[in-house]
Assembly symmetry: C2
């Protein structure tokens, strides 16, 4: 059951290796291989179960049919679900996904990128963290196809796909407003990426548009990477001090911590607090009354990211829009006080 190679097909079909290669790569017209020979080759190849050795192809062509997926950490439902759709979408174009995380200490991002480049990776899908920016820049300089997901670096003109953070938060805050809340707080983080900044802006602008008088402190800025118990305490302190009547959370893990903080204070949603969270999670659906959340269109994000990357890689015609922003969807649940 040795692996069958192109020369096997060539000899069994009584033709040259080149002929086989041409036919199997769809260049029979161009290379004028006759219909009959082409048919024969295809038939033999199928019968013998031929599939090209990717290493050889990669060596010869420099293409690996592999794309690299770089994430901070893949645990976390948003990432893992996205990874899943990326895998299927890439598969549709015949690409496999190899992924690496930059966070888990095993290797720095330069190391990771080097390894991926050693594997002749054809393109990169990156969910960036700030400290990777320079690496991305060097990828771009070397003409590597890159598409950023869920954030972007303003300076580099890298294509990106992201959710409309501003609009998402704005929708959430508006929903709370419509439900009658007037002292709406925001829990965000100090993460230095547009991602979070747009969310903060989504909050501030909306609150301004609704002509709510907000004390500055109604924004609770947590430290990114903060340990969970600290985070919970921070939110609890904020709630005790500022007494918002509703909270808009800027990220799913913040919402989760928020729930824990409220529980700790003996408060409950929606009796004592209105709530909306940016980015949905199972728990928001299951938590007793159901927590309204802004759902990220994961499927569309993954779909578009792969599509744009394929464009960059020359696999498909490049589309006009190299960067897109996708609207999130407000999933209304019962995290508001009635009447």
């Amino acid at each position: 059951m040795r692996k069958v190679k192109i020369s096997d097909i060539a000899s069994k079909a009584g033709v040259s290796i080149s002929a086989v290669s041409f036919v199997l790569n769809g260049k029979e017209k161009e290379m004028r291989i006759s219909k009959s020979v082409a048919r024969k080759i295809r038939q033999v190849a199928k019968k013998e179960g031929y599939h090209p050795n990717r290493a050889a192809v990669s060596l010869r062509t420099g293409e690996s049919k592999i794309i690299g997926l770089i994430v901070d950490t893949i645990s976390g439902s948003f990432f893992s679900r996205l990874a899943n759709v990326i895998e299927t979408e890439a598969g549709k174009y015949g690409y496999k996904v190899i992924y690496g995380s930059t966070a888990n200490g095993s290797e720095g991002s330069e190391q990771l990128l080097r390894i991926l480049s050693q594997h002749n990776v054809d393109g990169y899908l990156v969910m960036p963290e700030a400290r990777i920016e320079s690496q991305i820049a060097s990828l771009i300089k070397r003409k590597n196809p890159v598409v950023l997901i869920d954030s972007y670096f303003a300076k580099l003109g890298v294509p990106y796909v992201m959710v409309d953070n501003f609009q998402g938060v704005a929708d959430g805050v508006s929903w709370l407003y419509e439900k009658g809340y007037r002292r709406i707080g925001f829990v965000g983080s100090d993460l230095d990426m547009v991602q979070m900044k747009d969310r903060v802006r989504g909050y501030s602008d909306t609150v301004k548009a609704k002509k709510l008088k907000i004390p500055k402190g109604l924004i609770c800025e947590t430290v990114y990477g903060m340990e969970n118990t600290m985070l919970i305490r921070k939110i609890a302190d904020y709630v005790k001090k500022m007494r918002p009547d509703a909270l808009m959370f800027g990220a799913n893990y913040l919402g989760v911590a928020g729930l824990e903080a409220l529980t700790g204070l003996g408060m409950s949603v929606p009796a004592d607090m209105g709530m909306v969270c940016f980015d949905d999670m199972d728990i928001f659906r299951l938590y007793p009354p159901g927590i309204t959340a802004v759902e990220q269109p994961i499927h569309e994000i993954g779909h578009k990211a792969v599509e744009i990357l394929m464009g960059e890689m020359g696999v498909i015609p490049v589309s006009v829009k190299k960067s897109i922003m996708i609207k999130g969807h407000l999933v209304e649940r019962n995290s508001f006080r009635v009447g």
Copy 2:
């Protein structure tokens, strides 16, 4: 900034390609390259930033330094967290992970395995579903290193790493017993894998050992792959009919559905029902009183799986135990009625 290759190093160091290869692969002793030349070569290689083209290496040696991770679907917290640790653990040995899911329709498992084999994958980590058994068998027949995770196929003697399902459920049931419950039900699925069967056995044996009289019907067998709303209804009907005073759930998604079912019936945990779930989830920690669960030792599972696979692949000396079972840990929370 062209990629530097071995011949560049050779010429800059004024030696042959072979010499460079020997030194950089640590065969200098064996191939008696002098200290001084070796030093020179290493120095030049470092300065020029040489890193071997993996495609070429792979073509020549047949090894890719890539392992294939095959899962049903990577979304789901257990899988994604496990994927994460596998990635880091594999990284420690210099291996990258390429993964493919069999479930999401894009490609069948034969197709997936073929593609991985085209990429010269060195070994496989598989979280099996029943229908992949024959494929695994053929991998084994072709002497491919394979380690199964979280289940095993009795017939094939494939190494595996799994959690002690029997013990985990037994611990959960015992906990409920200690809390005073005497009419403990079990919600499992008809999934035809040892995995689930051991859990059912863990329940039945424990219940028998405690000398509880259980009507047969206290086991609720759900259909694997059942649609969620159907699942919830099934559990609700079962609860209404059999009136257990506590429930042991055989899988995390079952526990979640169970919570929804109970909510639908106007019942709550722990006031109206004791509960333990096999396999922990965020929601069990966050759900108001906290649901006791059997936590799977994800880190250890991933660690061991990679270790055994490396043994199979000849990367490290093969350990005595090729298959291991790891104990889960009962995380006690407040899903029981006091007094």
